[in-house]
Amino acid sequence: MAALAAAVTGTLPAAASGWDLLNMPRGVTNVSTRIYGLHMMAFWICVVLAAVVFSVMIWSLIFHRKARGAVPDVTMLHNTKVEVVWTAVPVLILIGMAIPAARLLVKINNNTDAQVSIRVNAFQWGWQYHYLGTNVSLISKLSMSDDAARMLDSGVNVNSVPDYLLTVGHPLVVPVGEKIRLLITSVDVVHSWWVPDLGVKKDAIPGYINQASFIVNPSKPGIYRGQCAQLCGRGHAFMPIEVRAVSPAAFHAWLKKQSAAQQQASTGAPASTPAAAST
């Protein structure tokens, strides 16, 4: 209840920023920025159309009222010319929207020429990443602190947990400026891998391997977070995605270190592996 009161009054930093969350992020890939552009174009076209249609409606609501003594024009039954116009004009507007959308769609679905390929195995409830061509594999699940805080009656004020529900134990690490291809599947039910800033959402479906790819803008290294976007059972809200985009040099160093550690783990040496190894 105290937490409730605090949240209502908006004294907490995380909650205070919430009012600004109104729109899609531009993201950090060329594709996500272009999706944002397409989204805004469609939005403004809709706003203009709404302004026109609603103005006519509102005009009628104000000036064609019985209370103002308006007399109905009962001869107004149909008008073929008008019907043709308001069928044809929307078609032209739609074509104008479809062309850029189709172009972008084709570009997004081009998954060739990737420099790094990662197999993504979704499971209830987490993600397993395997860097193809290496022995590096990691299990990425909701962080321990978030998991403790999320329990019913945990007594933890979730606003005090940084990036509550969006932090994982072992994040996916990728290089900026290189094309990353994801090969996405699931071992149990349907999930969906979604990171808004990367402009990628792709379902993980048992029996299918779906592809998705992205290139993080070289000027935008950082941590990008997302969540499973397909209802997948009790833990659906609790399978976040955390992507760390680092410089290619840092990435390769990290990969090498992981590889050595996992090699050591699989040969039975008592090493403290930073990431769980499986398969």
Binding site: L21, T87, P90, Y208
Partner: protein
């Protein structure tokens, strides 16, 4: 003063059974219509209760009330109750009440089938609701029931499958009755292109129902045999495909959403001319637009599946076909606007709901257009943006149209007027709170909040709180509706045969309340013309 149709010539026809027999053995379209509407009302409040519980859980970040498994059950049951329990039966109830009166028939063509199709419903509803009390709880895989997730739920899974079978049978029987009634019982002189729009939209809806309910039944039956009899329709390990379920489900699912909204188009096309005191503009265009929407509804299902990894060509096809729906839908909105243009408007409760429909359904249409663009849909899919979109078309869309219809025809049904002032309160509370409830969900979805989550990151708290407050106000305001109807039926002032001076159509040529067997003899051409021209 209008001359109401003289129906007392054969008073013996007014004989009706009394007590429980009147309802259990009901064959009268009005009695059955009433039962449908009451059933829909009960389910609306139960489904609304589930919605309140969902909004309470989502009031703030950090789980407060329910285990996520219970939360998932609530959201699944909310959808099933609202779609199959509330909106569809409400439309069938309105069809029962209005179609015979509007086409000049004494009753529905198949009265005993009508009885059966209603009485299946309480059993189906009970079966569905009782799944809450079996081990493992109610199904929690969403109303879309995607395998393999759906098969992870225990005893409730077959219960829901059978409940859907029953609901589907009921819908198909109801739809057959509507088609047969419209095709055979129209008064002489009432050609197809003289039928009221509500009759037209219901005729098209009935064909959609007959076409797609068996597909849903097939899909859930395959789920059932996969689970219990070792088949592998949707089981990847056995050579099946979970994606095939999605295709079959949405091949049903998209026409289904038009089943929910087309009769609403009909109602709005009745109410707007009545309170604009002006005939519907572009009647034939409206009929053709409805038929086009129904046709297109069969070739757009893939837009629910843009992220499943379909080939680019398929995604392009579904994007273009989906965008095409905007054209006939636009034609409808423009024709309604043109109907109000140079009219003589007044704002009684039915018109208020119709005008709100016009604005808010159009907003839902715009977000639908945005969702059609595949690249943007990659970001919108599975988020609260989608939740906002379909609630805009279903709540201030379909549900407002149902409420408008009730307020429009209640004087005809009951022979009494309701409390206009209270009904306006109901309208304003609903219209404001529905926007407080659903508009912020656009923001949440765009900002990255997935749908169907039991708990969310703290930055989404503010708009969720606004949405929840809107939800609670909306939910509580709906209690006014049964109260207004109850007071009207009990003690309303007597209503005239044509309580709305601009109302057109045969139903207003009957006295209020309408006689038990609506048109015992077909209305003459003169009555027909009087109803149409008024």
């Amino acid at each position: 003063m209008d001359q109401p149709y003289e129906s007392n010539a054969h008073a013996d026809h007014e004989h009706k059974p009394h007590g429980w027999r009147r309802w259990v053995f009901a064959t009268n379209h009005k009695d059955i219509g009433t039962m449908y509407l009451i059933f829909a009302g009960v389910m609306f409040f139960l489904g609304g209760g589930a919605a309140m519980a969902i909004r309470a859980q989502l009031f703030k970040s950090g789980m407060e009330l329910f285990d996520p498994a219970v939360f998932n059950s609530l959201l699944t049951m909310h959808a099933l109750m609202m779609i199959f329990g509330a909106v569809m039966p409400a439309w069938v109830g309105l069809a029962n009440w209005m179609i015979p009166m509007q086409i000049g028939a004494p009753d529905m063509a198949l009265p005993r089938l009508n009885n059966l199709s209603f009485w299946i419903l309480p059993f189906a509803g009970t079966l569905l609701l009782s799944s809450f009390f079996v081990p493992g709880g109610a199904p929690a895989g969403g109303w879309t029931m995607y395998p393999p997730l759906m098969e992870q739920f225990g005893a409730s899974f077959p219960m829901v499958v059978f409940a859907i079978h029953l609901l589907g049978i009921s819908s198909i029987l109801g739809a057959i009755n509507v088609v047969v009634t419209i095709m055979n019982l129209r008064a002489p002189g009432m050609g197809l292109l003289r039928m009221p729009l509500f009759v037209w939209t219901w005729l098209i809806t009935a064909f959609l129902l007959i076409a797609v309910m068996p597909i849903l039944a097939g899909a859930v039956t395959m789920l059932l045999t996969d689970h219990f009899f070792g088949t592998s329709f949707f089981n990847a390990a056995g050579g099946g495909s979970p994606v095939m379920f999605m295709h079959i489900f949405w091949f049903f699912g998209h026409p289904e959403v038009y089943i929910l909204i087309l009769p609403a188009f009909g109602v709005i096309s009745e109410i707007i001319p009545a309170f604009s005191r002006k005939p519907l503009f572009g009647y034939e265009a409206m009929v053709y637009a409805t038929a086009s929407i129904a046709f297109l509804s069969f070739i757009v299902w893939g837009h629910h599946m843009f992220t499943v990894g379909m080939p680019v060509a398929a995604q392009l096809f579904f994007m273009l076909s989906t965008m095409l729906i905007a054209v006939p839908t636009g034609v409808k909105v423009f024709n309604w606007t043109a109907t109000m243009w140079k009219g003589s408007l007044s704002f009684e409760p039915p018109m208020l709901f119709a005008v709100a429909f016009l604005f808010l359904f159009t907003i839902g249409g715009f977000s639908g257009l945005m969702l059609a663009l595949v690249p943007s849909d990659y970001q919108y899919h599975g988020t609260y943006f989608v939740v906002a979109h379909f609630h805009y078309v279903l709540v201030p869309g379909a549900v407002f149209a149902i409420m408008g219809a009730i307020y429009y025809w209640l004087p005809k049904w009951s022979g009494r007027m309701y409390d206009m002032k209270l009904a306006k309160w109901h309208f304003w509370l609903s219209a404001i709170s529905v926007n407080v409830l659903f508009f912020p969900q656009h923001f949440l979805g765009l900002a990255g909040m997935p749908r169907r989550i039991a708990d969310y990151a703290p930055q989404f708290t503010d708009w969720n709180m606004v949405s929840s407050i809107g939800g609670f106000v909306f939910g509580v305001s709906q209690l006014l509706l049964p109260y207004i109807v109850w007071r009207c039926v009990r003690s309303g002032k007597p209503a005239e045969a044509r309580p709305w001076d601009g109302a057109r159509g045969l139903e207003w040529e009957l006295p209020s309340p309408a006689p038990f067997h609506s048109w015992q003899t077909p209305p003459s051409e003169a009555v027909l013309a009087h109803g149409a021209e008024h």
